[in-house]
Symmetry: C2
Subunit: 419 residues, 2 copies
């Protein structure tokens, strides 16, 4: 018999009592940001629950982490506190537990209709790192730019390649994205041009939200890396392909990425995703010992991208992928990140890189889907090589359980013209 909440939750909701993702919201325009969990069509205000003294376990009683305007303090407490919060909230919201169910006053105060709230970035992100962990994505990009013989660089199979991203320009789902301007370079010896990007793209990614972190000089063991990951979000690592391809040699992507990155407001915990754990792909060659995991797992999370073209009412699905296509696991990514002694802090974000599957219908960006603009996509009466002004891109992600979903909601953004 599946766990049920006294809050009514429709069967196709992303947010049943089995999920309880964490976010930061304002119940009303002028109010203070505070932590909440999603339950059906409601947000449960954790500051009210905390005020009422209902976080009464050993790790959270007396803590003011749910009075904060972001989740960083809660993240710093680590997995025992996260598990306690989840257990407390699952109990409090369950159909059989009267504490909140039968307290009309507290219910009124703490359960806010989701339609009314404003969602904010749930974390203060100290550093954002973006990996490159889908083999299909790496291969497709390699074939396009270097040809099929050397599609994937030799280092790729030995370590999870990554670059430092820009944290200041990470925005929450629903924030408009202004088309970046910059330099592009057609080819040969012609001088570069300057103007609005002509190859604006999305990148279908997810990201791990880092928990307690580690001290400078003290790497995290790969088999303990899971305890440093609070949960996952959807991430759109918007990319200006023309700017990127001109600037990226030899130091990597810079302005082709840093104009904006969109994240979904709800962090789905690894605890909620545990029922959807699956084997990670077999790695060949065997990774070096510091990357070899006793248990190497991915999660079965269906991902979908829709584009709502400028001026149209309906959106079209342009790709369907899955988190389980990642070659390098998020725990390997985290362990690799710290092996040189680099310190991670609560709220750091580790993007997976574009998650492409093996089939063309599962490619994770327009660069791959249209093969760098050579094969335009058909979208109900219009076509796209890259994104146009007014286009809205909507990601969604969901794990399907037996009679319930553990979902991420959506991660969306609309392109505004350059100034």
């Amino acid at each position: 018999m599946a766990l049920k909440s006294f809050v009514e939750v429709s069967p196709d909701s992303h947010f049943p009592i089995q999920n309880l993702p964490f976010g930061i919201f304002k119940p009303e325009p002028g109010s203070t940001p505070r932590p909440g969990v999603a339950i059906g069509d409601y947000v449960l205000d954790l500051s009210s629950i905390s005020d009422a003294g209902l976080f009464d376990g050993p790790f959270l009683s007396g803590s003011d982490c749910f009075q904060e305007p972001n989740l960083n303090k809660f993240l710093a407490l680590g997995r025992p506190a996260w598990k306690e919060a989840r257990a407390t909230l699952q109990n409090l919201l369950s159909a059989d537990e009267p504490k909140l169910r039968d307290n009309a006053n507290l219910r009124e105060k703490s359960l806010v209709p989701m339609g009314k709230v404003e969602m904010l970035l749930p974390i203060v992100i100290g550093d954002y790192t973006d990996f490159f962990s889908s083999m299909h994505h790496a291969r497709n990009c390699g074939i396009m730019f270097r040809g099929p013989e050397n599609a994937i660089n030799p280092n790729w199979f030995h370590l999870p390649i990554a670059y430092h991203g820009r944290s200041s320009s990470i925005v929450v789902s629903g924030t408009d994205i202004i088309r970046p301007r910059g330099q592009g370079h057609p080819s040969g010896n012609t001088p570069p041009y300057f103007g609005p990007s002509r190859k604006l793209d999305f990148e279908l990614e997810m990201a791990a939200v880092v928990g307690p972190g580690n001290e400078l000089g003290k790497p995290v063991d790969v088999n303990e890396a899971g305890d440093h990951i609070f949960g996952l979000v959807l991430l759109n690592d918007w990319s200006a392909r023309d700017i990127q391809s001109w600037e990226y040699v030899p130091l990597g992507p810079f302005l082709g990425k840093s104009f904006g990155t969109t994240m979904s407001p709800w962090i789905v915990t690894l605890d909620a995703l545990e029922p959807f754990a699956c084997d990670a792909p077999k790695q060949d060659p065997q990774p070096l010992p510091y990357l070899a995991e006793k248990i190497s797992k991915n999660y079965d999370i269906s991902l979908e991208v829709q584009i709502k073209p400028a001026g149209q009412e309906d959106s079209c699905v342009v790709t369907r992928s899955n988190f389980n296509h990642l070659y390098w696991t998020v725990t390997q990514q985290l362990a690799h990140h710290t092996i040189n002694g680099c310190n991670l802090r609560p709220g750091d974000l580790l993007g997976t890189g574009t998650i492409s599957g093996p089939e063309p219908e599962s490619y994770g960006c327009l660069l791959e889907l249209t093969w760098n603009g050579q094969k335009p996509l058909s979208l109900k009466g219009t076509t796209r090589k890259f994104l146009e002004d007014g286009d809205e891109v909507i990601f969604s992600g969901c794990s399907k359980g037996d009679g319930y979903n553990v979902g991420f909601g959506t991660c969306s953004g609309k392109i505004l013209p350059s100034p």
Copy 2:
């Protein structure tokens, strides 16, 4: 007649009344971090000066920015407030002004001997960006890795190349640096090895500390970029060349850099450096209009690196360079950084990249000085290809005025062995 302070300042001091660099310090081990300026062998405690109501100009009276444990709030106020603070402090410290000079009680409270204080990171760094703006450095690296024909990539002359760095691992001068472990790759088809870096290097850089910053989507005009830069620091962008060269294709440097970056504690303001402004190098080809400055200036800042080899008492000078060797100015770097709409925030750090001059004695890192280990450096009775455990690296920087210096003090770090 040069401005003089009632605080005695020796002629070779880096910190006369003409300088007044800002930092964050603790007067005693247990005390709260607070802002200060360096004057001779003393630190002037700005929290005391502020408490005493002596910041009485229109921008700073009533502000609590000098009660903060970092300079970010002061940086956010912008150039008018910075100029007011400088004028107030120069007046207060001048030989002719009795307000502080003749107030024994306030002097006692606010002037702390520099030898007693602990210096901390002066800013909370949201994002750290590292540029690649010395042509000599770019050329030398290019010759070593790609040969003399294609030494400098075509994009280099059109835009200030940069990558996002890691902000969590930026430490203040004096912090030990633990030798990073990671993967290296000798050559050909051999598998990578794992272990402590065999090619640990320093990089002689400076960095601009960003002031007010800009909103996402609103670029900063290159001719207004100077108002967004509070000042400069010395920066050692420690680099593990073996890790870097194996990992950096195609997304740029990552773990070869993120194990530690050392910055000097004193931020020397652009106002203090103004007497040392000089013409920037002529740029050919002409930069695109968004990078074309009405006045394009560098600063004449002599830079020196010493190594104190493990177990030795004395240090040796290994290179002498100058900030004015930069091809791209810091204002061009800042304008380029925002041209895509990327937002900068107060306290962001923009590294210049390694500052190499044209002559071999002015190269800014061991990679260049020893030509990737082929020509070991002689250091009084020992030699170095790269850094060994126990080596200490000490940067200093100074502009020489007429009878006074505007200096940066030192930026140092000692290598500890891998765990």
